[in-house]
C-alpha cells in the first residue's frame, strides 16, 4: 500500500477510569490497519490537543463515560482550532444521550458512537470518513 496509513489518537479525557471501551477500540482500529496512539487515562483537553498536534494525527477518538462529555468534547475542539488543527476529525463514544450527541455534532464532533456500536462499524466509519491531513 503506497497510501499513507491514517494515524488515529484514541484519547481518554476526564477523571474516570473506564478504559475498557477505549482499549477495545484502539486495538480494533490497529487491527483494522490504522496507526493507533493511545493516550492512557486521565487526560486533560490540553494534553489531548497537544498530543494530536505533536503526533500529527488525522483523527481523534474520544471516550468518556463520566457524564462530562458536554464539557470535555467541545473543549478539545476549541483547543484544536486554537492550534490551527481543526481539520483533525474528532469522533467520540460513551454514555451519551441522543440530545447531547446532536449538540456535540453541531459543535463539530463528526460522529458519536453509543453503547452497542460494533468495532466493525467504527473501523468502517473511520475508513470512510477520515482522510489524511494536507
Amino acid at each position: 500500500m503506497d497510501e499513507k496509513r491514517l494515524r488515529i489518537l484514541v484519547a481518554k479525557p476526564g477523571l474516570d477510569g473506564h478504559d475498557r471501551g477505549a482499549k477495545i477500540i484502539a486495538r480494533a482500529l490497529r487491527d483494522g490497519g490504522f496507526e493507533v496512539i493511545y493516550t492512557g487515562l486521565h487526560q486533560t483537553p490540553e494534553m489531548i490537543a497537544e498530543a494530536a498536534v505533536q503526533e500529527d494525527v488525522d483523527a481523534i477518538g474520544l471516550s468518556v463515560l463520566s457524564g462530562a462529555h458536554m464539557t470535555l468534547f467541545p473543549e478539545v475542539i476549541r483547543l484544536l482550532k486554537e492550534r490551527g488543527a481543526d481539520d483533525i476529525a474528532v469522533f467520540g463514544g460513551g454514555i451519551i444521550p441522543d440530545e447531547d450527541a446532536a449538540k456535540l455534532k453541531r459543535a463539530g464532533v463528526r460522529e458519536i458512537f453509543t453503547p452497542g456500536a460494533s468495532t466493525e462499524d467504527i473501523v468502517k466509519w473511520v475508513g470512510e470518513n477520515v482522510s489524511p491531513r494536507e
Partner: protein, 544 residues
C-alpha cells in the same frame, strides 16, 4: 449404567446438538452433563457443613435462616444534602445499610474548585471536599446504628478520617462505628484506574489504614478486596477470583510484615464480588472463592481464628452486563444475577437499577432494584435452606474447576514476586484487556448474545426517564468550597498539613495526622496534594 465417557460417545452423540459453542460468558467450555465422576472430593474436605472450614457452603452456621443479607444500595449524586435525602429515603424503604458513591473529583483527590473537577462535580456521585460536606452527608444518620460503606480508594484515608470526625462530633465513639471502606488500591491499577501515587506508596497507605482500624476502629472493615471492577473491566470469572484473592494475599502479607498478628486484622478484611449473567458460573465462583481464601489463610498465614478464614462478601450485579437498548430488560438481568448472589451465599448485596447504563438511577428505578432483593428474600423461598445448589454435580464440578484455574493464576503471580510486582509489570492489566477483547469479538461474531443488542433488537426504543444532574450544582459547590477556604483559620491548618507531610516521610501511621488535618478543615485535594508531592504521581502506561 454407562460411564460419563461412554454415555457421551453413545447416547449423547446419537442425540442431536445445536450448532453452538457451549461455554460460559467467560468462555469456559461446559460439558453436556456432570455426574458424580466430575466432583470426586470428599464432602468433609471439599465442602463441609455451613459455618465449617473450608466454608464452601457458607460462612455462617444458619446463613439466611439466621439473618438475611444486608440490602445495601449504592447512592450518591449532587451536593451532600441531595445524597443525604436519598439515604433517608432508602432507609425508610427498608434498606439496612448505607453505601456512598462519591464524584470523580473526590475519588481522584481534587477539590470541587480545582480546574480538573470542571464538569464532573456531583455528576457520578456526591461531591465531598471538606468535613463540612461530610457533616451534611450524614446529617441525622445514627452512625452507631447504621453501617456505612464508602466506595473510595486513593483518597480513602481522608474520607475515613472525615467519617470518624463526623462520628466524634455526634458523640459516637470510634469503637462503635461500623462500616467498610473500599480502599483496595491494587485493583485500582488493575481495573478501576483511580490512583494518585505509584503502587508501592499506595500500598503503604492501605496498610496504615488496616493497622489503624485494627487498633482504633475495631468494627471497621479497612479494605474491601474487590473483584467487581476487575470483572467490569472485562475479565473472566476465574480472573476476577484469582486477581482479587492475590490482592488479598498481598494486603495480608504487608500487614503481617508490620508485625500485626494475622488474627488481629484478617477478620476485618471483606470482599466484593461481581454478579454477572452466567448463573451457574457465578454461584460456583462465590463458593470457590470461600474455599480458596479459607485454605490460603490457614495454610499460608497460619491463621487460627475461624473468622480470619471466612470470606465474607458484598456483591453487586454486573453494571457492564446492562444494556442501554430496551433498558427495562435490565430488571430481569438484575434479578437473575442477584439470585446467583443469594444462592452463592453473599452477606450484602447491591442490585443495579435498570437505567444505570444511561445515567445515575432515578428514585423509581432504585426502588424496583431494592424490591427485587426483597422479592428474592421473602417470596421465592430460596432462603429456607442453606446452599441449596450444593451437591449439584454441575455446581460442584464448576466450583472445583474455577478454584483450580484461579489457583493456577495465584501461583503464577507468586512466581512474579506477588501482586505488587505483577501490577507494576502490567500482567493482570494485559490479561483482562485480552479477555475483554475476546468477548467483544465473540459478540460481534454472534457467538455470544446480548438480547436487544446483537439479537432481538428493535429500531424504536421505549424511552425511560433518567436522572438529570443540574449543572448549577457545580457552581454552588465551587462557591461554597471557595468561601470555606477563605473563612477558615489558617495557622492550625498549616501545622496539621505539615504533620501529614512529616508522617509521609517518617513512616509514622498517617491516619491520626490525617484526622487532625480534617478537623482543621483541610480538604481532600490539599491532603492529596501532599501525597502527590511526597510520593509522586502515577501515570497510565496506556497498555492496550
Amino acid at each position: 449404567m454407562s460411564s460419563k465417557k461412554a454415555w457421551l460417545e453413545t447416547t449423547y452423540k446419537q442425540a442431536s446438538e445445536r450448532p453452538a459453542r457451549f461455554s460460559t460468558v467467560s468462555d469456559m467450555e461446559i460439558d453436556p452433563l456432570y455426574t458424580p465422576e466430575d466432583a470426586p472430593g470428599s464432602y468433609g474436605e471439599a465442602l463441609a457443613n455451613p459455618g465449617e472450614y473450608p466454608y464452601t457452603r457458607g460462612v455462617y452456621g444458619s446463613m439466611y435462616r439466621g439473618r438475611l443479607w444486608t440490602m445495601r444500595q449504592f447512592a450518591g449524586f449532587g451536593l451532600a444534602e441531595d445524597t443525604n435525602a436519598r439515604f433517608h429515603y432508602l432507609l425508610k424503604q427498608g434498606q439496612d445499610g448505607l453505601s456512598t458513591a462519591f464524584d470523580m473529583p473526590t475519588l481522584m483527590g481534587y477539590d470541587a474548585d480545582h480546574e480538573r473537577a470542571l464538569g464532573e462535580v456531583g455528576r457520578e456521585g456526591v461531591s465531598v471536599t471538606s468535613i463540612h460536606d461530610m457533616m451534611r452527608l450524614f446529617d441525622k444518620i445514627p452512625l452507631d446504628k447504621v453501617t456505612t460503606s464508602m466506595t473510595v480508594n486513593c483518597s480513602a484515608s481522608i474520607l475515613l478520617a472525615m467519617y470518624l470526625v463526623v462520628a466524634e462530633r455526634n458523640g459516637v465513639p470510634w469503637d462503635r462505628v461500623g462500616g467498610t471502606i473500599q480502599n483496595d488500591m491494587l485493583k485500582e491499577y488493575i481495573a478501576q484506574k483511580e490512583w494518585i501515587c505509584p503502587p508501592s506508596p499506595a500500598l503503604r497507605i492501605v496498610t496504615d489504614m488496616i493497622e489503624f482500624c485494627a487498633k482504633k476502629v475495631p468494627r471497621w472493615h479497612a479494605v474491601s478486596i474487590s473483584g467487581y471492577h476487575i470483572r467490569e473491566a472485562g475479565s473472566t470469572a476465574v480472573q476476577e477470583l484469582a486477581f482479587t484473592i492475590a490482592d488479598g494475599l498481598c494486603y495480608v502479607e504487608e500487614a503481617v510484615k508490620r508485625g500485626l498478628d494475622v488474627d488481629a486484622f484478617a477478620q476485618r478484611l471483606s470482599f466484593f464480588w461481581n454478579l454477572h449473567n452466567d448463573f451457574l458460573e457465578e454461584v460456583a465462583k462465590l463458593r470457590a472463592g470461600r474455599r480458596m481464601w479459607a485454605r490460603l489463610m490457614k495454610e499460608r498465614f497460619g491463621a487460627k481464628s475461624p473468622r480470619s478464614m471466612m470470606l465474607r462478601t458484598h456483591a453487586q450485579t454486573a453494571g457492564a452486563s446492562l444494556t442501554a437498548q430496551q433498558p427495562i430488560n435490565n430488571v430481569v438481568r438484575v434479578a437473575i444475577q442477584a439470585l446467583a448472589g443469594v444462592l452463592g451465599g453473599v452477606q450484602s448485596l447491591h442490585t443495579n437499577s435498570m437505567d444505570e447504563t444511561l445515567a445515575l438511577p432515578t428514585e423509581q428505578a432504585v426502588t424496583v432494584a431494592l424490591r427485587t432483593q426483597q422479592i428474592i428474600a421473602e417470596e421465592t423461598g430460596v432462603t429456607n435452606t442453606i446452599d441449596p445448589l450444593g451437591g449439584s454435580y454441575a455446581i460442584e464440578a464448576l466450583t472445583d474447576r474455577i478454584e483450580a484455574e484461579a489457583m493456577e493464576y495465584v501461583r503464577k503471580i507468586d512466581e512474579m514476586g506477588g501482586m505488587l510486582k505483577a501490577v507494576e509489570t502490567g500482567y493482570p492489566q494485559r490479561e483482562i484487556a485480552e479477555a475483554a477483547f475476546h468477548y467483544q469479538r465473540q459478540l460481534e461474531k454472534g457467538e455470544k448474545t446480548i438480547v436487544g443488542v446483537n439479537r432481538y433488537s428493535v429500531p424504536e426504543e421505549i424511552p425511560i426517564d433518567t436522572l438529570k444532574i443540574d449543572p448549577a450544582i457545580e457552581e454552588r459547590q465551587v462557591h461554597r468550597v471557595r468561601k470555606m477556604k477563605r473563612d477558615r483559620e489558617s495557622a492550625s491548618l498549616k501545622e496539621a498539613l505539615a504533620r501529614v507531610s512529616a508522617a509521609c516521610r517518617s513512616g509514622e501511621n498517617l491516619m491520626e495526622p490525617i484526622c487532625e488535618a480534617v478537623r482543621c478543615e483541610a480538604t481532600v485535594g490539599e491532603i492529596c496534594d501532599i501525597f502527590r508531592a511526597e510520593f509522586g504521581v502515577y501515570t497510565d502506561p496506556g497498555w492496550i
